[in-house]
């Protein structure tokens, strides 16, 4: 009998609540009991209320225990954890945990299963199948497969990936780039981080396929510095991919080349906007560019560039491996496939829910999420990051679908959902939206740069009860100016959380209160 395989996540979030201490304790306590174990540091399953989640391989499948503290490990081993025995922390088979069982893991199929940097694990679980298939296809066939899948950009805007790729493919051959936007700066989103820490080879594979598809031999991943663990894992993954000939001068032994570089951001939210990101990649301030020209025509260094989010690129390998139809048959309306929703903030069962588009907001927050962490009633949720709308529970009927959300004056964005309980003061949240915009604006457009500062002041006057009606009117005018007069989503969408807070929670703007901070 070989050693018992024990899994303890290496994901930064799992580590943030003690996974390293648990791993150390397991090795120590197993040694004390003379039990032969093999410890695997996997990605996270994305059920953060159960982290650190320890899994043990048994003949019947993986059995989960959690949340485990280092102090529990001795008693767990005595209870027979290494044989999958019952214990108050035992959750049964991992795959049977209700929140996980109901999901459709398409992009996240491998996250939490493997050692993220194991080449053998990657190939044994279907890794490289998409790239191998792509190498046998013409560029047009690859692009058509992506178009047929209905895949839309996961970064927030939801632009059809195939159309973007087609545009770059149609440009005359020459220097072209693939630029991966891994500057996941929206609060309430962490799926990119989990993917890069939990299955980094998938992103590498997706980038290589994108390069083959559009005729680009060079790729850049722009990752935020706020993710030190992801930077380290992805950096190692790129090195390993080179060593194994997955990228480099000869992709998988063919005459196709693809060079991949990792670039680290430096604490600027606006660099998550694609043109600001390109400026930053070129070594400049992250000032946004006017569009057109689109990056697909004139992107990095003025050359045709595919700019895609991490999850967009990481979804391409399984689409090629399983066929466009396998993805397209999931979803609703023009929102095809799955989305990796992220349940965040004041939520009991926070984490990742990958499921087909069309699931309702209420199902996600209440059924998957189990309501608030505080136990108080939900009052508001913000969907799609700091530039997304605040919605009341009366809109929990909304299906997660780009068009349905747009029609409701909201946005799906990157699929992050931040839950607030009844203690939230929505006037403070509206004020914060403006404050955040003032802090992070690149400064190019006056309505954004100056408007956000004025927005904070006007909301302060409203909160203080100064000339309320006139100031509410002024705020509406200001929002209109920001929407109409800003080049990018920073100024253009900051009014979304502000207006939605006013619309759905007007009572919070009616009592005179002290101005925050």
């Amino acid at each position: 009998m070989g050693p018992v395989v024990v899994f303890v996540p290496l994901d930064a979030a799992a580590r943030s609540v003690g996974a390293d201490d648990v791993a150390i304790a397991i090795v120590r306590e197993a040694a004390v009991r003379q039990r032969d174990i093999r410890l695997v540091r996997n990605g996270s399953r994305g059920m953060f209320w159960l982290e650190p989640l320890v899994e043990v391989s048994t003949p019947e499948g993986r059995v989960a225990y959690g949340p485990v503290e280092a102090g529990n490990v001795g008693e767990l081993l005595d209870a027979g954890m290494l044989d999958g025995a019952p214990h108050r922390l035992c959750l049964g088979k991992t795959e049977e945990i209700p929140q996980l069982r109901r999901q459709t893991r398409f992009t996240f199929a491998r996250v939490g299963i493997n050692d993220p940097l194991s080449v053998a694990d990657y190939e044994a679980t279907g890794g490289l199948a998409g790239l191998r298939r792509a190498l046998g296809m013409t560029p047009q066939e690859i692009v058509t497969a992506v178009t047929d899948s209905g895949l839309r950009g996961r970064g927030g805007a939801g632009f059809p990936a195939g159309i973007k790729w087609q545009t770059v493919l149609n440009m005359p051959s020459g220097l072209k780039f693939i630029a991966c936007n891994a500057d996941e700066g929206d609060s309430g989103t962490f799926a990119d981080r989990m993917l890069m820490e939990g299955d980094p080879f998938l992103l590498v594979e997706g980038m290589a396929i994108a390069g083959l598809a559009v005729g680009a031999n060079e790729g850049y991943i722009y990752i935020r510095s706020e993710y030190p663990d992801a930077v380290a894992t992805l950096s190692a993954a790129v090195d390993i991919a080179y060593l194994n000939g997955w990228v480099g001068p000869s992709v998988l032994g063919t005459d196709r080349s693809f060079d991949l570089h990792l670039r680290v951001g430096a604490g600027s939210y606006i660099c998550g906007e694609e043109t600001a990101m390109l400026e930053s990649l070129e070594g400049r301030r992250g000032m946004i560019r006017a569009k057109p020209p689109l990056p697909a025509i004139a992107g990095l260094l003025g050359k045709p560039t595919v700019v895609n989010n991490v999850l967009t690129l990481a979804t391409v390998p399984p689409i090629l491996a399983k066929g466009a139809e396998a993805f397209r048959e999931l979803g609703v309306g023009r929102s095809r496939g799955t989305q990796v929703f992220q349940l965040a903030g004041n939520i009991k069962h926070g984490g990742i829910v990958e499921t087909a588009f069309g699931v309702t907001l209420g199902e996600l927050v209440e059924e998957y999420g189990g309501g608030t962490a505080s136990g108080r009633p939900v009052r508001a949720v913000q969907v799609g990051g700091p530039l997304g709308a605040y919605l009341p529970t009366s809109r929990f009927d909304l299906p997660m679908d780009y068009e349905a959300f747009a029609a409701a004056g909201a946005m799906v964005g990157h699929g992050g959902i931040v839950v607030f309980d009844e203690t939230v003061d929505m006037s403070h949240q509206a004020r914060f939206a403006m404050e955040f915009c003032a802090e992070e604006s690149c400064g190019k457009c006056t309505p954004c740069r100056v408007g956000a500062v004025r927005g904070v002041e006007v909301i302060d006057r409203i909160i203080a009860g100064v000339d309320r009606e006139a100031n509410l009117e002024l705020l509406e005018d200001l929002c209109e100016t920001m929407v109409d007069g800003s080049l990018c989503a920073m100024g253009g969408l900051t009014p979304l959380p502000v207006r939605s807070a006013l619309k759905h929670f007007p009572e919070d703007f009616e009592q005179v209160k002290a101005v925050p901070l």
């Binding site: 953060f48 700066g185 609060s187």
Partner: protein, 165 residues
Amino acid sequence: MVSKTRSSYVPWSQERAVAIFERHRTERGALMPILHELQDVFGHIDPRAVDLVAEELNLSKAEVYGVVTFYKDFRSEPPGTSVIRVCRGEACQSMGAERLARHAREHLAVDFGGTTSDGAVTLEQVFCLGNCALSPAVLVDGRLKGRVDEAGFDELVAASRTEAR
């Protein structure tokens, strides 16, 4: 990036800076990787580094200075022994991050961006560390912490002060 402590930084050295420059010379958009490595090695972007980089990359000093000051990560002054970054994103706000942010400033008696008088801790605010289901989040010298309340914050500060000794 953010993972080093001051004790591992080296004093300014023109030779060392030139070596960094040489390593990145052929990269596209080399300025950002150069600035990151300069800060990793020296702890901050020394004014002499700005002059050197401008000369080597054939940029104006204003351009280089403009880049250094645009990005929050790049410092013009050395940081404290530990750098503690408190997340103020919406997800963390929903779990009391504003209270934690106030407490952090009071406990350390510095504002965001400041360093305690004993040089032990630099306190910074950050908008999202990607730990939004385990809020409030804090990053201590590159190590992510979740569900940090006021007492937990004080423990983190005490631990990093002990570690520094």
